[in-house]
């Protein structure tokens, strides 16, 4: 089973994702895609670790290359989040786009293939993503391409998912399917 969760910052995605995971097959893996890059992200990571503490998740820090990640067979994996994974795959550490042609098709295919590879090893894969396209600010070309790429990834993953939820104020709004 594949479940995609979306929603804005602070909308309660992580908590809902964990509650879904706890009802699924063991073992539980948490795939953290956020690179620690300073005090603020360390604090975010610490907060997420605190939320998960004592719930039985094994944390795997993996910032890219999901297509080669080996998971325990038949368990549940929670990946957080696709916005970090996409940024890590699309930009190098200096913030430059890896694809000099700015086409990003290869990044799209790599990420979707990576998610398929994770799903093939689990009985339940829960993916957390984000609504990066929902503001009216103007951005540079690289950021605009990132918004388009993540939107494209979200669409592809939603099409593959058995259930899709949007979190609003901590309330899950069902957009597709149901979780059994």
């Amino acid at each position: 089973m594949r479940i995609l969760l979306t929603g804005g910052a602070g909308s309660g995605k992580s908590e809902f994702a964990e509650s879904l995971a706890l009802a699924q097959a063991r073992p539980l893996s948490y795939i953290a895609a956020m690179k620690p890059y300073g005090e603020e992200s360390e604090r975010r990571i610490a907060r997420h670790r605190g939320l998960r503490a004592g719930k039985g998740f094994a944390t795997i820090e993996r910032y890219a290359d999901m297509d080669s990640l080996i998971l325990p067979t038949g368990g549940t994996a929670l990946l957080e989040c696709l916005c970090n994974l996409t940024a890590n795959e699309m930009f190098d550490d200096a913030g430059a786009e890896r694809d000099a042609g700015h086409n990003n098709d290869a990044v799209f295919e790599k990420i979707v293939r990576g998610q398929d590879a994770l799903a093939a090893q689990c009985s339940c894969l829960i993916q957390v993503t984000n609504e990066v396209g929902r503001d009216a600010a103007s951005y540079g070309d690289g950021t605009l391409r990132y918004i388009q790429l993540l939107g494209r990834i979200n669409r592809a993953l939603a099409a593959r998912a058995d259930a899709v939820y949007e979190l609003v104020c901590g309330i899950p709004i069902q957009l597709k399917g149901t979780v059994v």
Partner: protein, 121 residues
């Protein structure tokens, strides 16, 4: 308490007026004695929480409101300024906490009130 959320310009204020609240009852971006607050996000951003949890301090002063209206500010690209990121997260978390306590949560989309917690009307 009724929590009303939605994007900017979605029709939240009109929804509140249609419930029978007049301007004298409505505080705009400030937490005072009036029973309705709109633009709660302005109060949170002005409060400048230093962590996502810090805005929980506002929870008690909002508990007795009849209606709390807040823009959904969590969408879009992560803001460049740290204090904007913190306030955006805090605003979302505060709304999650309020939604747990609220008897009704309404999300206004294109002027349509969608009840996401509680009963119609």
């Amino acid at each position: 308490m009724i929590l009303v959320v939605g994007g900017a310009g979605a029709g939240k204020r009109e929804y509140v007026r249609n419930l029978g609240w007049d301007e004298s009852s409505i505080a705009d971006g400030v937490i005072d004695d009036r029973p309705v607050i709109i633009n709660l996000q302005d109060a949170v951003f002005n409060y400048r929480p230093e962590s996502p949890e810090a805005a929980d301090a506002l929870l008690e002063s909002l508990a007795n409101k009849a209606i709390v209206v807040c823009d959904e500010v969590g969408g879009g690209i992560i803001p460049l300024e740290r204090r904007d990121r913190e306030a955006r997260d805090a605003c979302g978390r505060l709304c999650c906490r309020m939604a747990q306590r609220a008897e009704k949560v309404v999300r206004v989309v294109c002027g349509l009130p969608i009840i996401i917690k509680g009963e119609y009307p």
